[in-house]
Amino acid sequence: MSTPQDRAVPAIVHLVEDDEPARVATSRFLRASGYDVRTYASAEAFVAATPGAADGCLLLDVSLPGHSGLDLQRELPAWAEGMPVVFLTGRSGIHDAVEAMKAGAVDFLTKTADGEELLAAIATAFARGTEERAVRQRRQVAQERYARLTPREQEVFAHLISGQLNKQVGYDLGISERTVKIHRHQVLEKMEADSVADLVRLAADLGVPPEGTVR
């Protein structure tokens, strides 16, 4: 388990909790545990805020006046998109928990859960956040490179990642093997890849499906 101290920048926990004493106590506890804590009394207050850094996790009370925690999870503001969410609830409503987990929550804890459990959930959240950030970053790079390809090159890209030889690609696309070679060179160049294996990894980040069959 990673601790906040391991990080270069203090990790920010965004705590949305309408009950003031609980808010104070929880933030006090998290601070003592080494986190930077921002508190909000309602979903609306969180939406209205514009924190500088997107790095953080959201500790969200399920029952909030007005928009509930679940509402907020579904409609996160742009700046908080992808932020991992840990839910806190005063009750053990299985329905809410399922809904929250389906929507991608990291964890769903009762408010009276142990502090250690809470810290573990937050740590997991940060870990997932870091991971997702990395994935997102790679995808972004790949997308930028992918965007440089011409439509024909994108077609060639899709066939290459399926493992087809130049000849098969040429056959499928109705072009000569030589032309395929030229496109392949361009694709590797533009995608900054050394090999087809690199292209396959980038395709995974991009979510582009392979085309054609290997005979």
Partner: protein, 625 residues
């Protein structure tokens, strides 16, 4: 037999006559029309005697009111007290002169003495007139019977009167006769002792005593005695007694009941009984006088007792001597009753009594009705208590999850604070102030948890209706706090908008809380499925001088039209059949509770979204917040 000794021995003389000799040629002395018949009424005694006055009165009533009334003159000879023979002659002479030019057809002679007076030699002042006389039984011997005269002979009433005495006083054995001492009185009453004896009683005649001695005597008589006061005129000492006075004094002094012969003495203190009524007798004679003016009459007419007697009793004396009215002969008249509402104002009394009775019945009925109603009210109140309790449990059941959540809040806060303190202590980075603050927060949250539990418990307990001063705003705040957890869990916000002034109502706090809780839960159900911006309730208070109103305003779908007016009836539910929670009793219990507090509850749709349900209660004097 005994002569005429009835109180008034009365003789009436009647003369049919042409006018006397000189009547043929009218003279200046003739003052009235000779064609009008003339009647002279002659009494032996003076007009001051009550019986004479009554006689005269009865006579006048009849004679003077006849169709063709005769001219009537009255002469009172007053022979009784003055027994001087010469005066009679002079009087006769004087009367002859007085009437010499007056037509006299009939002479009515009252008293046997009048017959003697008229019958004396050469004495009759009205020799041509017909005579009608009255006498008891028969005339005394030596009384001249004038030719052509008619005697009204009264049946002797005394024996019958004695029978009445025996009837009303069955133990009577002796009768004291108080008579006067004048010669004429002796003549009249001399035979009375024998009559008493014949009635089986012992007579004791007191006639020779002075009145004072008589009074002494009658005060100490044996108890089985009755006294007959025979209207004495002159006592044993020669004193002339005023009429009625002897009877009054004797009745007052006597230790036994007294009786009188004549009705004219009635009321003097005598018991009453069968009494001769001279007014009746006067009228009787009047009628015969008129008849005699018309035609001849027989020489003797027997007059039965009933024609000239009255049976009457003095109520006061009956009471004094303990004589029951049931013993009185039939047809008796009872006079001198003490003033009695019943007797004098029977109709009015009956009316008043009926009204009172009616009122009493009405009051009784109303009281019973009221008691029955109160019992019914007690029953319904008990039922209300039970129903209300069940309803509260249902409502709280609905709230349980939310309340558990609410209880989690302070518990979680306590946990986090304790952990924080622990961490800070471990790291050695905390300040004393920080720790104290944390401990303070822990204590506060602990109290908060305790409050939630208390609030719940008070609503869960079975609770009798109590009446106390309740701050309605406190009720609102408490209830809103209770419902907030559930509201929050369902994404609903509850705001309060209360007037600055606190309103005190008289009632039961728990039940009032229940009312608002029901309204809030209904409103929550209504708005929970709405879009987030419409998930809002406002609890508002408003008041005037007499009423305070608590409104629950929601922005839900509003009330269905078809439920208007019956929302507060049992088993009417606004909730769809998909939700089995709505038994439909909540609002009817709300209404029952509010009405038990003298208030009312109503609902209407808002102009824009949702509905408002409110209840109003009468509040007490306002107290500043």
């Amino acid at each position: 037999m005994i002569r005429t000794l009835l109180t008034a021995s009365v003789t009436v003389l009647l003369l049919t006559t042409a006018v006397h000799g000189q009547g043929a040629s009218p003279t200046p002395e003739a003052l009235h029309d000779a064609s009008q018949p003339g009647v002279v009424f002659v009494a032996s005694e003076d007009t001051a005697q009550p019986w004479v006055a009554l006689f005269t009165e009865g006579f006048r009533e009849v004679v003077l009111q006849a169709g063709e009334a005769p001219a009537v003159s009255f002469e009172y000879l007053d022979l009784l007290r003055f027994e001087v023979p010469e005066t009679a002659d002079e009087l006769r002479q004087w009367l002859r002169t007085k009437y010499r030019s007056t037509r006299v057809d009939v002479v009515v002679a009252i008293g046997e003495e009048c017959l003697r007076f008229l019958g004396a030699d050469g004495g009759n002042p009205w020799p041509d007139a017909a005579v009608i006389y009255v006498e008891a039984g028969s005339l005394s011997s030596g009384v001249p019977v004038l030719p052509g005269s008619t005697g009204l002979l009264l049946e002797d009433a005394f024996p019958e009167a004695l029978e009445v005495v025996k009837r009303v006083l069955p133990g009577t054995r002796q009768v004291v006769l108080v008579a006067g001492n004048a010669a004429i009185e002796e003549a009249r009453f001399g035979g009375f002792g024998d009559k008493v004896r014949r009635a089986g009683l012992e007579p004791l005649v007191l006639s020779s005593l002075g009145l004072a001695d008589v009074l002494d005597k009658v005060a100490g008589l044996p108890p089985d005695t009755a006294i007959y006061v025979l209207s004495p005129i002159v006592d044993g000492t020669g004193r002339v007694l005023p009429p009625r006075r002897p009877c009054e004094l004797i009745s007052k002094a006597a230790n036994v009941p007294t009786f009188v012969l004549g009705h004219h003495d009635f009321g003097c203190g005598a018991v009453g009984g069968l009494m001769r009524d001279w007014h009746m007798a006067g009228r009787l004679i009047g009628r015969h006088t008129l008849a005699r003016l018309d035609h001849a009459l027989p020489a003797v007419i027997d007059v039965p007792i009933r024609d000239y007697t009255t049976m009457a009793f003095d109520s006061r004396q009956l009471t004094r001597w303990g004589i029951s009215e049931t013993r009185l002969p039939e047809g008796s008249e009872v006079r001198f009753r003490p003033p009695s509402l019943w007797r004098d104002y029977r109709a009015l009394s009956l009316t008043v009594l009926s009204v009172l009775a009616l009122q009493a019945v009405l009051i009784t009925v109303l009281t019973l009705e009221r008691r029955r109603r109160r019992r019914a009210e007690d029953d319904s109140r008990r039922h209300l208590v039970v129903m209300a309790h069940l309803d509260r449990r249902a409502a709280l059941g609905q709230l349980t999850t939310a309340l558990a959540h609410e209880l989690h809040q302070p518990l979680a806060a306590i946990l986090r604070n304790a952990e924080a303190a622990s961490m800070q202590l471990t790291a050695g980075q905390s300040t004393r102030e920080e720790l104290l603050e944390i401990i303070g927060d822990i204590r506060r949250d602990d109290k908060r948890a305790a409050t939630i539990i208390r609030r719940l418990r008070s609503l869960l307990e079975k609770h009798e209706l109590e009446t106390a001063d309740v701050d309605l705003h406190d009720v609102v705040l408490d209830t809103v706090a209770l419902a907030t957890a559930d509201a929050t869990a369902r994404g609903v916000r509850i705001d309060t908008d209360l007037t600055a002034k606190r309103r005190i109502v008289t009632g039961d706090r728990v039940h009032l809380q229940q009312v608002l809780l029901n309204l809030l839960l209904n409103a929550l159900d209504a708005v929970a499925p709405m879009r987030p911006e419409r998930r809002r309730l406002v609890v508002q208070s408003a008041s005037d001088d007499a009423w305070v109103e608590i409104r629950v305003i929601d922005a839900g779908p509003g009330l269905p039209e078809e439920l208007a007016g019956q929302m507060f009836e049992p088993f009417v539910t606004t909730k769809g059949s998909d939700k089995s929670t709505g038994l439909g009793l909540g609002l009817s219990i709300v209404r029952s509770i509010v009405e038990a507090h003298g208030g009312r509850v109503q609902a209407r749709n808002n102009e824009r979204d949702g509905a408002t349900v409110w209840f109003a209660l009468p509040h007490r004097e306002t107290e500043a917040a």
